[in-house]
Each structure stands twice: as structure tokens, then as C-alpha cells.
């Protein structure tokens, strides 16, 4: 892939890379804009806590879910958030294995995004249980009731997949941070910062023997995270595909869900990095090359998702099954048709603009396109979850679904929580991996 834009500003050195990235955390005065953004996010986070408290006290009737639509936007949001997380793992693990140097300046940030998105996702199924205080029943532990979980259920697979994913992502992120904690420890001026970063760095001193094992561990983790991320969204799609509901029971689901997850995730990475790189003056690290590459990944995965929609319609027609045919007809012409066509507009039409290099280079356009794609991926899950459930085999069990104010509060609240974590992250941790940036500098070239 030839591009005129470099991966990193050629004028940078070991010292300037280190100082520039660590000064965001250590020296730069916390700006008013940061406080403003954090305050709004934190307020919305309080809304989430309120919504959850009320839900636990009153019960799940507070949400608009009821038979036949027992899943509603809460499971939809679970899928949406976890899908967003997948881009982080793709950038940090898969692109590492493919030796894509451009991943270096965005992997730390994308991994943080993964972790925070998975934290939001994980809450939904737990509170959707109705009795969240019994969530530990999902894990196999010897108990006096003498019962065990049912491992043939995709919902149990989900428990294992999501908890493994969260754990491995957190470890991968932390391991990546250890050498940078050491950098911050050695740069920090105040005692408390030195102590905290020092504790986190665990005595890292850049020994050649340590680096050797560190690189081995990092590479192995990347190799493990790669099939893991594919398995997680495959298993999320099994939550649907293993059921017999028309609109769920389709073999296209696993690849189409994984592509959709990467699509949504890259949209979110762009949505966040475009303002961030501008605000913190990181154009030398996150160059136009990154923007172009991410836009291309978005275009490619968007086309796969588009193929998925076409195949769903084709399967419905070609199956000759009247329930399947009705499901597709109902999506296009039923009471939720607006959602379906909005989805087609957001997810199939919108990414086509990315074919144009001129539009890809315009960051405002790119940001707007990413925003539309994020909405489109939310609509996709709405169509899959709600439209499929609301009219299945028997007209006597048909129904309609309306999310309540508490559904929306929870959703908006998790967005607040996500941004709260993100604001704290960019304030207290290096948002670009400092030691990995050093490895791609011209200075690091070893002559043989």
C-alpha cells in the first residue's frame, strides 16, 4: 500500500517523542475543555447510576421489554458496545501480527476504547437478568443447590467469551503500559506521581533480558487475542443464530457480525481520534496515513456488512419458507420499516463516499461519516433484535416494542460512563505507546 503520507513525522527523536507524549500526562496544564468534557460525561454517568439503582429497586418492568420482545434495546446495546470494542483488539493484535507499523500510534488508545466499551457491554446482560445480584450463578461453582449451568446454551458461551475477552484485553493493555509506566516514573516531578507510576511499573528498567521475554509475551498475547476477538463476536452472533426465530437463524451471522463489529469499531476510533489529535497537537504521531487506512478498513468492512444484508434478503426469498419470507417483507414494509431503510442508508450508502480520496482526506467529512456509521450499526442491531422478535410464527403472539425513558437513560448513561473513563485515561495515562513509537523512529535503525 503506497501512500505519500509518512507513519510518523520524520523530524521526531527518542527524546522528543518521550517528552511530547509524557508531557500530556505530566506537565501540560489540565485544560478547561477537559474539565468541561469530563463534567458532562460524569453527569451522564450519574444518570446511569440512577437508572441502575431504580432498575434494581423496581425491577425489569421499568424497561420496555416484554414478551414477545424480551430483549429490546438493552441486549442491542450490549451487542453495539462489544462490537465497538473489537476494533481495538484488531488494531492492537491483528495489525501487530501483520506487521502494520501504522498501528503503533493508535493501538494504546484503541485498546483503552476496547476495555471501556466492554465494561459498558458487560453491564447490560447482568442487569437484564432481572435479579443481577444472582449473576454469579452463571459461573460453574460447587453450590449447595446441587445444580450446574447448562453449557449447551449459547448464553453460557457468551458468559465465558465476554469475561475472557475482558480479562485478556485488560492484561494486554496493562502489559503494553508497563514500560511506559517506567518512563512516567522517571519523568514525574512530584512524589505521589512517582510512587503511583513506580508501583505500576513494578521496577521495570529496560533490561535486554526483560525486553526479550516481554516481546515474546506480547507477541503471544497478540496471537491469542486474534482468534479470541473473532470468537467473541461469533459467539455473540450465536446468541441469535442458534435460536429458531426467523431473522436470527442464519449461517451468515458469524462473519457478518464480526465484520459489523470491526466496522462500528473503526467508526468509533475515527470519531474519537479526529478531535483528540487536533486538540492535543498529535498530528505528527497520528498522521493522515492513519486516517486513510482506517477509512479504508471501514469501507471494506462496510461492504462486507452490505453483502450480509443482501444475503439475508436472498436467504429469506430463496428458502421458500413463508416465515422467512414474511420476516424480510416485514422488515421492509412492516411497522419498523423506517429503521430498516435508515439502516440501509447509514450502513450501505454512507460508506460509498469513502471511495473518494478527496472525501477521505477531509476530516470533517470523515468524522460525520463515522458518526452516521455508528448510528447505522445501532439501527442494525435494532432491526435484528426487535424486528425479528416482534412478529414470529404465530400472529397471536405478535407485539410491539417501545423503549421507555429508563432504557434511554441507561443507554445515554453508559455513553457518559464510557467518556468518563476515556477522559480519565487521556489525563493520567500516555494515550500513545511511547516505547513502541521509539521503535519506529529513524534513530532506532540498527546498521548491520
Amino acid at each position: 500500500m503506497h501512500s505519500t503520507h509518512p507513519v510518523i513525522d520524520p523530524g521526531l527523536t527518542f527524546a522528543s517523542v518521550t517528552d511530547k507524549i509524557s508531557s500530556i500526562v505530566l506537565k501540560r496544564r489540565t485544560s478547561l475543555a477537559w474539565f468541561f468534557g469530563f463534567a458532562i460525561s460524569f453527569a451522564l454517568f450519574q444518570l446511569m447510576l440512577l437508572a441502575i439503582t431504580n432498575l434494581v429497586f423496581v425491577g425489569i418492568g421499568l424497561w420496555g421489554v416484554n414478551v414477545p420482545i424480551a430483549w429490546g434495546i438493552d441486549i442491542l446495546n450490549f451487542v453495539w458496545w462489544i462490537g465497538i470494542g473489537h476494533a481495538g483488539t484488531l488494531i492492537s493484535a491483528i495489525l501487530l501480527l501483520l506487521r502494520q507499523q501504522w498501528r503503533t500510534s493508535i493501538n494504546r488508545f484503541a485498546e483503552a476504547m476496547t476495555l471501556f466499551a466492554v465494561a459498558q457491554a458487560g453491564m447490560y446482560p447482568i442487569f437484564h437478568l432481572g435479579r443481577p445480584w444472582l449473576a454469579y450463578w452463571l459461573f460453574p461453582y460447587p453450590n449447595t443447590m446441587g445444580i450446574w449451568p447448562q453449557f449447551r446454551s449459547p448464553l453460557m458461551w457468551d458468559v465465558f467469551a465476554v469475561s475472557t475477552y475482558a480479562t485478556v484485553s485488560a492484561m494486554f493493555w496493562f502489559v503494553g503500559l508497563i514500560p511506559d509506566f517506567a518512563t512516567l516514573r522517571d519523568r514525574a516531578k512530584s512524589k505521589p506521581f512517582q510512587m503511583v507510576y513506580g508501583l505500576l511499573a513494578m521496577g521495570w528498567r529496560g533490561s535486554a533480558r526483560h525486553w526479550h521475554r516481554y516481546e515474546t509475551a506480547y507477541l503471544l498475547l497478540a496471537g491469542l487475542a486474534t482468534p479470541l476477538v473473532l470468537s467473541v463476536h461469533t459467539i455473540v452472533s450465536f446468541d441469535f443464530a442458534v435460536g429458531i426465530i426467523p431473522g436470527w437463524h442464519a449461517t451468515i451471522f458469524p462473519p457478518y457480525f464480526v465484520a459489523g463489529a470491526i466496522y462500528a469499531g473503526f467508526a468509533m476510533v475515527l470519531l474519537l481520534t479526529i478531535p483528540l489529535r487536533k486538540f492535543y497537537g498529535l498530528e505528527g504521531f497520528i498522521t493522515m496515513r492513519h486516517m486513510h487506512n482506517m477509512a479504508k478498513v471501514m469501507l471494506a468492512t462496510g461492504l462486507i456488512v452490505g453483502y450480509g444484508y443482501i444475503m439475508e434478503a436472498f436467504f429469506g426469498w430463496y428458502s421458500g419458507n413463508k416465515y422467512e419470507r414474511y420476516m424480510i417483507w416485514n422488515r421492509m414494509h412492516g411497522p419498523y420499516a423506517l429503521y430498516y431503510w435508515a439502516l440501509i442508508l447509514c450502513n450501505i450508502i454512507t460508506p460509498q463516499f469513502l471511495w473518494s480520496k478527496k472525501l477521505r482526506s477531509n476530516l470533517v467529512v470523515l468524522w460525520i461519516l463515522s458518526f452516521i456509521v455508528s448510528i447505522g450499526m445501532w439501527l442494525e442491531r435494532f432491526v435484528i433484535v426487535v424486528t425479528s422478535l416482534h412478529r414470529d410464527f404465530l400472529p397471536s403472539s405478535w407485539g410491539m416494542y417501545q423503549p421507555t425513558v429508563w432504557d434511554w437513560s441507561m443507554f445515554i448513561g453508559t455513553i457518559g460512563f464510557f467518556f468518563t473513563l476515556l477522559f480519565l485515561f487521556i489525563r493520567f495515562l500516555p494515550m500513545i505507546s511511547i516505547f513502541e513509537m521509539r521503535t519506529i523512529l529513524p534513530e532506532a535503525e540498527v546498521d548491520e
Binding site: D19, F160, G203, R205, R209, W211, A217
Partner: protein, 213 residues
């Protein structure tokens, strides 16, 4: 441990020995006490401007017969660990065993629960409906392998280790910024303070200094 490290170049040893904090029982302890120093020495350290200078110096020091040597750099350098004779790590084996145990353990857990302890007939399917157990088996494999990778790396590196003698060296805080260091440890069987200092001074080093314990 010193013998273990000697083997690393020839490839038959695993070379897990590290820049250990010198133990008072170690036979080489005598050489820690140099006549001109009130404190025992950890070793002699040379400071370099760039990766190439460090790699060259490390190679020559290794060729001069020193084995308890170590390089310090702000980012991983493959050539450096080769230069000091550290090319083999047990970590991949540990991760493989971890993954294997995770996978077998995950499957056996499901088998025992669904077939032996709590059999439930689901639609007349066999109790050992193994294809349905594969997703969780896979997740357990990845989980235990990942834990093995992270904990294995930390344990083999003897981390966390808040105190280490090299932190006493002047300018060592720059090892996490833009400086490169080479240390010949006093526990090296061939260690002789004056000879080592002379050797390190013969390289293109910024500064050569003693590292106190």
C-alpha cells in the same frame, strides 16, 4: 545460575538466569568488595548515545569472555539480546502448557458436569454433546494461555522488583527516554574491576561509572 547463562549461546541451556540481586552466599561475592570502595559493587556501567554503540560494545564485551553482562535500552532491541548471548526463553513452552491445560481442563469440566454430575436430556441429544462444548473449551484455552504469558513473563523477569542496584547509576533515569547502558556485573567469574573499566572505556561510551549495590 552463572553456569546456566553460559550455555545460552550454545543453545542447549534455557538461560533463564537474570541480572539477579547479588546474594551474599555467591562465591563471587569477594570481588564485590573492591579495595577502593566502601560499598560493595554491583558492577561497572557504560552509557551510550545510541543503539548501535551499545550493540557493538555488548558484542565485544561478550567476545572478551564476559557472561554476566546486561544491556538496558528504552525500547526492545533484538540485536542487543543476541549480543549479550540471551536468545532463548522458556516462555513459549510455558504458554503452550498453559493453553493445553486450559483447553483440557475446560472440556473436562463441561464433560464432568453435563455427563456425570448433572446430566440433563436436551431434545434427546447425547449427554456428551461435545460440539456444544467447543466454544467454552476454546475460551478456557485462551484465558489460561494468556495468564501464563503475562504471569510467566513477570515471574521469569523477577518482577515486581522495586529496588535494583542499576537505579543508583547516574543518568539511569534516561534509560526510559533516550540513553543506552551496558553493565558488566561484579559476579562475573572473569570480573576484575580495573580491566572491566578499561574495556568499557575503550568503547564509544559517554561515561563509565561504578554501580553500587
Amino acid at each position: 545460575m552463572a553456569d546456566d547463562r553460559d550455555k545460552t549461546r550454545s543453545g542447549n541451556g534455557h538461560g533463564q538466569g537474570d541480572d539477579v540481586t547479588p546474594s551474599p552466599r555467591h562465591p563471587a561475592t569477594a570481588s564485590h568488595f573492591h579495595h577502593r570502595h566502601a560499598h560493595p559493587l554491583y558492577g561497572v556501567m557504560a552509557e551510550f548515545e545510541g543503539p548501535n554503540e551499545l550493540i557493538d560494545a555488548a558484542r565485544q564485551t561478550y567476545e572478551a569472555g564476559y557472561r554476566r553482562i546486561n544491556g538496558y535500552s528504552p525500547y526492545p532491541i533484538e540485536e542487543l539480546s543476541e549480543a549479550i548471548g540471551f536468545t532463548h526463553s522458556r516462555l513459549p513452552l510455558i504458554v503452550f502448557i498453559g493453553g493445553l491445560l486450559g483447553g483440557i481442563g475446560g472440556f473436562l469440566m463441561q464433560y464432568w458436569i453435563e455427563v456425570i454430575d448433572y446430566p440433563i436430556n436436551v431434545g434427546g441429544k447425547p449427554y456428551n454433546s461435545w460440539p456444544a462444548f467447543i466454544p467454552i473449551t476454546f475460551e478456557c484455552t485462551v484465558l489460561v494461555a494468556a495468564f501464563s504469558a503475562v504471569l510467566g513473563m513477570l515471574v521469569l523477569n523477577k518482577l515486581p522488583q522495586p529496588y535494583h542496584p542499576v537505579f543508583n547509576a547516574p543518568n539511569f533515569a534516561l534509560a526510559t527516554r533516550d540513553r543506552f547502558f551496558l553493565v558488566v556485573e561484579a559476579s562475573d567469574p572473569r570480573y576484575d574491576h580495573d580491566k572491566v573499566t578499561e574495556l568499557l572505556k575503550s568503547f564509544n561510551a559517554q561515561e563509565v561509572s561504578d554501580v553500587e549495590i
